[in-house]
C-alpha cells in the first residue's frame, strides 16, 4: 500500500495529493491513471480512477475535485495514510516524434492528465501552447505547471475574472488560427472536448481526447467503461482513456450522464 506524503487544497473543492509510489512513478506515461482504493471499510467498495497529474522522482501527484464520498475521504487523508493504488493504467497520450508544436486544451480539472504531458513534450523540444478554462480565476489550477514549460498559456474564465471571458473553446478557436500547430490534446467535460474536436478537425490537424466513464475493475475485465468508437465498443480503462477524436462516436456518449451528474470536469461550465 502506497503512502500519502502530502495533501493540500489548491482551489475551492480541489486538492493535490502526492503519493510515494516508486513503481508507478517509474513506469507512468502522460495521460495514464491510477485506480485508488481510498478506504477499506467504506460503504463505497469500488476504487476511484484519477489521472496522474505529474511525476516527481518516486512520487506521483494527483489533482482531485471533491464531488462525492470517495473524493471527500481523499481530501481528509493526512500524510502517512496508506492507500491501495493500482497503476499506471490506461494507454496515455500518443506522442508522434514528428510533432513540433502541440496545443493542450483543458477544461476545469481536465488539466489533470495534461500536466505531465506538457513537461514530457517540452523535454523533447516540442513547443507547447496551453489553453486553460475554468469557472473563475480562483478555480484556475495547474497554471504554474504549464507556465514553467509552455511557450504560451492562455486562460479563459466563465466570469472573465481571469483571461478571456467565456468558454475555453473560444481561446482554442483563436489559437488554432494564430499558431502553426501539429496536434491538439484535450481533456475536460465531454461536451467541451466534442466542440474542441470539431474545431481541430476543421483546422485539419490531429486531435486526441481523454474520455471518462464509470469504472469498476480499471483493468479491462468488467466492461463497465465502454465507449462507442469507429472501431466499435472500446474499454476506456485499457483501450483509452485517450482516443483519436475522429474515432469517438460522441452522439453515443453515455459519459454525458456521468459528466452531467458527477464529473468534476463537468462541474465547471466551459
Amino acid at each position: 500500500r502506497i503512502e500519502v506524503v502530502a495533501n493540500t487544497q489548491v482551489a475551492p473543492g480541489v486538492g493535490l495529493v502526492v503519493f510515494h509510489a516508486p513503481r508507478t512513478a517509474a513506469s507512468a506515461r502522460p495521460g495514464q491513471f491510477v485506480h485508488v482504493r481510498v478506504s477499506e471499510d467504506s460503504l463505497s467498495i469500488l476504487r476511484r480512477p484519477f489521472a496522474i497529474h505529474r511525476v516527481r522522482g518516486e512520487r506521483i501527484e494527483v489533482l482531485y475535485q471533491v464531488v462525492g464520498v470517495g473524493t471527500r475521504q481523499l481530501a481528509e487523508a493526512t500524510p502517512g495514510t496508506r492507500m491501495d493504488l493500482l497503476g499506471p493504467l490506461g494507454n496515455g497520450w500518443r506522442i508522434d516524434p514528428e510533432v513540433r508544436h502541440a496545443l493542450l486544451v483543458a477544461g476545469g480539472l481536465g488539466v489533470a492528465p495534461l500536466g505531465m504531458l506538457a513537461e514530457v513534450l517540452a523535454a523533447r523540444g516540442v513547443a507547447v501552447t496551453v489553453a486553460l478554462g475554468a469557472a473563475s480565476e480562483e478555480r484556475v489550477v495547474g497554471r504554474d505547471v504549464f507556465e514553467a514549460v509552455a511557450r504560451r498559456v492562455e486562460v479563459a474564465t466563465d466570469d472573465g475574472s481571469c483571461g478571456a471571458a467565456g468558454p475555453v473553446t473560444g481561446v482554442c478557436e483563436r489559437l488554432l488560427a494564430d499558431e502553426a500547430l501539429d496536434v491538439v490534446y484535450t481533456c475536460g467535460p465531454e461536451a467541451m472536448q466534442r466542440i474542441v474536436a470539431g474545431q481541430v478537425a476543421a483546422a485539419g490537424i490531429p486531435c486526441q481526447v481523454s474520455l471518462e466513464r464509470l469504472m469498476a475493475c480499471g483493468i479491462g475485465t468488467c466492461l463497465s467503461c465502454v465507449a462507442e468508437t469507429a472501431e466499435g465498443l472500446k474499454r476506456v480503462c485499457v483501450d483509452g482513456p485517450v482516443f483519436d477524436a475522429t474515432a469517438v462516436r460522441w452522439e453515443s456518449a453515455p459519459g454525458e450522464a456521468v459528466a452531467a451528474a458527477k464529473s468534476p470536469l463537468g462541474g465547471s461550465r466551459v
Binding site: 463505497s44 475485465t221 453515443s252 451528474a261
Partner: protein
Amino acid sequence: MSGHVDMRVTLAGMTLRSPVMTASGTFASGREYADFIDLERLGALVTKGVSRNPWAGNSGPRIAETAAGMLNAIGLQNPGVDAFCAEDLAWLAGVDVPVIVNISGHTVDEYVAVIERLEEEPGVAAYEVNISCPNVDAGGMAFGTACAPAEAVTRACREATSRPLIVKLSPNVTEVRDIARAVEAAGADALSLINTLLGMAIDTRTFRPRLGRVVGGLSGPAIKPVALRMVWQVAGAVAIPVIGMGGIRDAEDAAEFMLAGATAVAVGTANFVDPTVTMRITDGLAEFCRSRGMMRVAELTGAMRPHCA
C-alpha cells in the same frame, strides 16, 4: 501458503486444486489478472458469458455503486462463441487451470448452439449455464425464474454434452429450491448460485436512473446474507454439489459458504476491488483449516452446527 491442508475438492467429476473459483463476468478470461495472480492456483476459471452470436451489451451507464455493492447492466456483451474460441480459449490453452465456460442465450437453441461449438474445443473443462438471461420466447422473463424453462434449457444442454454441466441459478425467485430440484432432475451435475439480485438506483441530481437500462444486477458484500441463505437452502434440497457465491471478499466469507453446504466458492465483484483477492482467499482458507486442525478443506462443506446444540 497452503502448507499441509489438502485444498482439493471434487466437483461434478472434476478434481479441483482449490475450492476457490472466479465468478463469471468479473474475470473476463483471466488474461488481465495474470499480471496480478497465478491463475494456475485457482480451483477453476469461469469465463464471462459467451453467446452464439456477438452481443453488444447495453448502453451506459453500465454500473452504479451502492452501499456495500454495485449494480451492473453490462448486458452480457461478448464477441460470440467463435471469437471466444479463437482468442480466449486459444490463450487459455497455455494456462494449466480448469476452464469453465459460462453460456448465455435468448432461446434454448442459442444455448445449445454455443455448447455444440465448444464441444469441438479440447480446452473446456465444464459448462456453466447462466439461466438468468432474458428468455425471448417467453417475453424476456428470465429462464431461471420458473421451473419449466429452467428445466428445458438444462435438458437441452445436457443432451448436447457429456462434459460436466453446471447450471447457475437466479436469486430473484420465490422458492429457489424448486428451481434447483427441477434443474437437478433435468440432468445438471452441479449448481452455482447466486447470480445478481435485480436492483435499481436513481441519480437525485438528474432525476434519471443511474443505469442506462434502469435496472441491473446487484452484487458485492451487500447480497452475501441472501446468497448464503439460498446456498444453505439449495444444498439441503439437492444431491448434486453447489458452488456458492455472492459477496465473498475474504476467507471467512468463503468458509461461511462452505459451512452452509457449498463444495466450492466463486469470487466476483471482489476482484474489482482487489485483483489478488482470489489468492488471499485461497491462502486464508488453508490457514483457516490449519488453525482448526482440519486436514482437508472439503471438511468444511456442510459442517455448520445446529444452534447451541
